[in-house]
């Protein structure tokens, strides 16, 4: 079989595995949702108070930029996990025993990721077509003008994201939750890098800037500004791609991206970056070597040592007389309501595997909350204190699915009315303990509203984690959503989004209390359906 055929079958199998899962439909639904938000005017691209007439050029540019910004952020989380899936299904071990090279595998995985992301881009293309026809401000359809931003802005960006997702999976530090957090900040950096370039050049993008422009937005901004300045010399040079209800009141005619050779080359270069990322991933790829996989790399688990342990156990077996061991019957085999023991057990499982330095930093943040001025503690230090346990919260609700322990736990008595609340209480205790320094400060200051906001956050965060864990069966969604929410809402003190209530003006504890109740109801309902008999 030729390499091309092998690659084709690898990508095909990978793609089919994904598209036949419900999560793929959710992925496409997300793309449709995003497309609808653009159509409905909830995602708006504007220059001062201007927007373009909804012709092929403007609609295509809008969809292209929305896809290369918002969808690249979400797309990473959607496609990351393909190597892990081969690891958990053990298909990887079969592949590892074939002559396939590491680089071949990583390139195939990147192509599989890209195929999924390209499907989302295709949905956005259909949405663009529908938007232009339904909006009907200009029904003349220019197919290349409409679709070229999606093809040359969105697709290259998606290819790079596809490669980064695989690269992250091959790097031990980034393959888990840390990688999910790092991606958000890396993505922010990619956006800022391009925008900064545009601003530096006063609205005119130099060719050199193309090569740093991940999303295509800065390039687009430059061209649109040039056009608008001819229409309105008083244009203030403001450009925004915003989510919300701010509607621009003026329109201008934009005829589309002026593609030149350098620009096209710069966009295609992202495919080259993607290929480079794929090959770099191959360097770090463990090729499903059990000694280098996820769990085997933990302390005290070197392969040689395991072999010794196994041998020792076998030796003991041969020597032992098992019939001399006696099992003393339990006083009563009936299950007791030992709720606090269960909370302690959940807490232990939650904190499993964390090293001393994790506790040291958590302790330092607690002290910092306590020692800093109240405003700094509430508005700043608590942000650090409540991002630190992110990977602990993110295990909630999905741990049973991730580690396949559901059949053991759900066949125990009262899994719904004891184990689930115990898991939530354990999560709330972690939240309370890590941010506890602030609570003490608020109590000393007699800040009742602050205390209320703090306690609501203590309830809200584990509720969100538990609900998303139960719903998705994994940690990725919470890690992504919480990081974005934490950064955009809490860190920027945005009223309504600031679930921590970092300042009085931005806190809405009643809203989050209500949301907590809803999330807990979701947890209860979903877990109830997971159990055959609740």
């Amino acid at each position: 079989m030729t390499s091309g055929r092998v690659l084709w079958h690898l990508v095909k199998a990978d793609f089919l595995t994904r598209v036949r899962r419900t999560s793929f439909l959710v992925t496409l639904a997300f793309a449709v949702f995003l497309g609808y938000q653009v159509f409905a005017g909830n995602i708006v691209m504007q220059l001062d108070d201007y927007r373009g007439v909804y012709n092929s050029a403007w609609v295509g540019a809008l969809m292209g930029v929305v896809t290369s910004t918002f969808l690249t952020l979400a797309g990473f989380y959607i496609v990351k996990g393909s190597i892990l899936r081969d690891e958990t299904t053990r298909v990887g071990q079969i592949l590892a025993a074939t002559p396939m090279s590491k680089s071949f595998y990583t390139v195939a995985k990147v192509l599989g990721n890209f195929a999924v992301l390209a499907a989302m881009v295709a949905v956005m293309g259909v949405a663009a077509l529908a938007m232009q026809l339904v909006r009907a401000e200009d029904r003349t359809l220019h197919v290349w003008t409409l679709l070229s931003p999606l093809l040359l802005y969105a697709l290259p960006a998606m290819a790079f994201v596809a490669a980064l997702a695989v690269l992250f999976e091959t790097l031990p530090l980034l393959r888990g939750g840390v990688g999910n957090v790092v991606w958000f900040f890396l993505w922010t950096g990619l956006m800022v890098l391009g925008v900064g370039q545009s601003v530096t050049h006063g609205g005119v993008v130099m060719h050199a800037g193309y090569f740093r422009d991940f999303s295509g937005m800065p390039t687009l901004m430059g061209q649109m500004r040039t056009t608008l300045l001819q229409v309105d010399p008083h244009f203030h040079n403001d450009f925004s791609l915003s989510v919300g209800s701010m509607k621009p009141h003026k329109q201008f005619l934009w005829t589309g991206v002026q593609w030149d050779g350098a620009q096209v080359a710069a966009r295609l270069l992202w495919f080259v970056y993607a290929l480079a990322g794929s090959l770099l991933a191959a360097v770090f790829f463990h090729r499903f070597d059990p000694a280098r996989e996820r769990f085997a790399r933990k302390r005290n688990a070197a392969p040689e040592r395991i072999a010794v342990v196994e041998f020792a156990a076998a030796k003991n077996l041969a020597q032992a007389d098992p019939w001399t061991h006696r099992l003393t019957p339990l006083e009563s085999s009936g299950a007791k309501n030992r709720f606090f023991a269960l909370v302690a057990a959940e807490l232990r499982v939650m904190l499993q595997g964390h090293r001393w330095w994790w506790y040291a930093i958590a302790g330092a943040l607690f002290v910092a909350c306590l020692a800093a001025p109240l405003s700094a503690s509430r508005g700043g230090v608590i942000l650090a204190a409540w991002i630190w346990p992110l990977l602990i919260w993110s295990q909630m609700g999905g741990r049973e699915a991730r580690y396949a322990t559901g059949s053991l736990i759900f066949s125990a008595p009262h899994a719904l009315d004891r184990q689930l609340p115990a898991a939530w209480v354990a999560g709330a205790l972690v939240t309370l303990a890590t941010g506890g320094g602030l609570l003490i400060r608020l109590l000393i200051a007699g800040d009742g509203r602050g205390v209320a906001g703090f306690l609501v956050a203590v309830c809200f965060i584990p509720s969100l984690a538990l609900a998303l864990g139960i719903l998705t069966g994994g940690s990725k969604f919470f890690e992504a959503l919480y990081t974005v929410w934490w950064y955009t809402g809490a860190a920027h003190h945005i009223r309504g989004l600031d679930f921590m209530g970092t300042v009085d003006a931005s806190g809405t504890p009643v809203v989050y209390l209500g949301l907590t109740v809803v999330l807990l109801a979701v947890c209860w309902t979903r877990r109830r359906t997971q159990l055959a008999y609740a």
């Binding site: 005290n300 395991i306 098992p322 019939w323 006696r326 003393t328 299950a335 232990r348 059949s407 736990i409």
Partner: protein, 328 residues
């Protein structure tokens, strides 16, 4: 036997086991142990696409070891999942001591020990910590649980590695952790699905013995496709195929059905294919004098001698009767 001591001495003898032996275990006095009964009435399970994994399955179980035998995809694991309250039956009822499990699942779960075919562990926890966690989930008293875990880790030969993270355990060692967790709450109903998968021969023998000893006043359901496991431990056997109960009988009864219909003779290697065309071959063994062929047949093949049937012969015969309507 005094009621104050929780020890009985049982002497067992099985013709198909390793012979007579004395085992000493801690069981509750019989007077304190309630008789247990598990009834499965017309149970069916339908999956999406109108696929029935189990249909009109009825069985009544009393203390002892039930060996659940059947080919791959027969519905064994589905039945296990229903009995372990992991999956809800699409039709029919399961009752535990007269209590409908659908209405009060906790009545069964409180006395249930379950070893699934596929299960996971938390890799960063040690065996000791993992068992402590599951003991808490099962609602066991901390002191009693600690003592029980100590004993169980000895029984499954993991006492020396109790403090090591489970992520570094081999498949067989994880399986032994699974066995230990199933016994944590001193279950009245023990359901074990392919329990010897991944165990080495010595561990397999130990586990068989463990099951035999545990079966005193509890119901043990052992699902497997390894006939020798069932042969060694089961007091009753249920054969299942295509989601239906093919036979439910004691091993002796099943063996009786093929008595006088199992033959063995030696043939040249070249004749083996021809023999397979005519007879249902249950075993072949290449030796220096040729191929020793074991077949199931009403009439003796020429030159063959009758041999004592094994449970494997009985199993193949029962499946053959179920599928074709005629004995092999």
């Amino acid at each position: 036997m005094s009621g104050a001591h929780y020890v009985t001495v049982t002497i067992r003898h099985r013709s198909w086991n390793q012979g007579g032996r004395i085992s000493v275990w801690g069981f509750k006095p019989l007077s304190e142990v309630p008789r247990v009964k598990l009834s499965i009435e017309n149970v069916g399970k339908r999956y999406s696409g109108n696929v029935w994994a189990l249909r009109r399955f009825s069985l009544e179980l009393k203390p002892g070891v039930l060996g659940l035998l059947g080919p791959n995809g027969a519905g064994k694991t589905t039945l296990m999942n229903i009995l372990a309250t992991i999956t809800r039956a699409s039709e029919g009822t399961v009752t535990w001591n007269g209590v409908d499990v659908a209405k009060d699942p906790n009545a069964l779960r409180a006395v249930l020990g379950y070893l699934p075919q596929d299960f996971g562990v938390y890799p960063n926890l040690s065996a000791q910590e993992f068992l402590e966690y599951l003991a808490a989930v099962k609602g066991l008293d901390a002191t009693a649980a600690r003592r029980r875990i100590d004993q169980l880790l000895n029984v499954v030969n993991l006492a020396d590695v109790r403090g090591r993270p489970l992520g570094g355990f081999s498949g067989g060692m994880k399986q032994r952790v699974g066995i230990a967790q199933a016994l944590l709450n001193d279950p009245r109903l023990l359901i074990v699905d392919e329990p010897t998968a991944g165990l080495d021969p010595e561990e397999r023998v130990r586990f068989r013995n463990l099951l035999s000893d545990l079966s005193g006043e509890r119901i043990v359901i052992l699902s497997t496709h390894i006939v020798s496991d069932v042969e060694a431990t089961a007091t009753d056997i249920a054969l299942i195929s295509n989601g239906a109960l093919v036979a439910h009988a004691s091993p002796e009864d099943l063996l009786q059905r093929v008595d006088g219909r199992v033959w063995e003779w030696v043939i040249p290697s070249a004749d083996l294919n021809a023999v397979k065309q005519v007879y249902r071959v249950s075993n072949t063994a290449r030796r220096s004098d040729g191929v020793h062929v074991r077949v199931l047949s009403e009439e003796p093949p020429q030159g063959a001698r009758p041999v004592a049937p094994t449970l494997e012969d009985a199993y193949l015969d029962a499946l053959s009767v179920y599928r074709t309507g005629v004995a092999a």
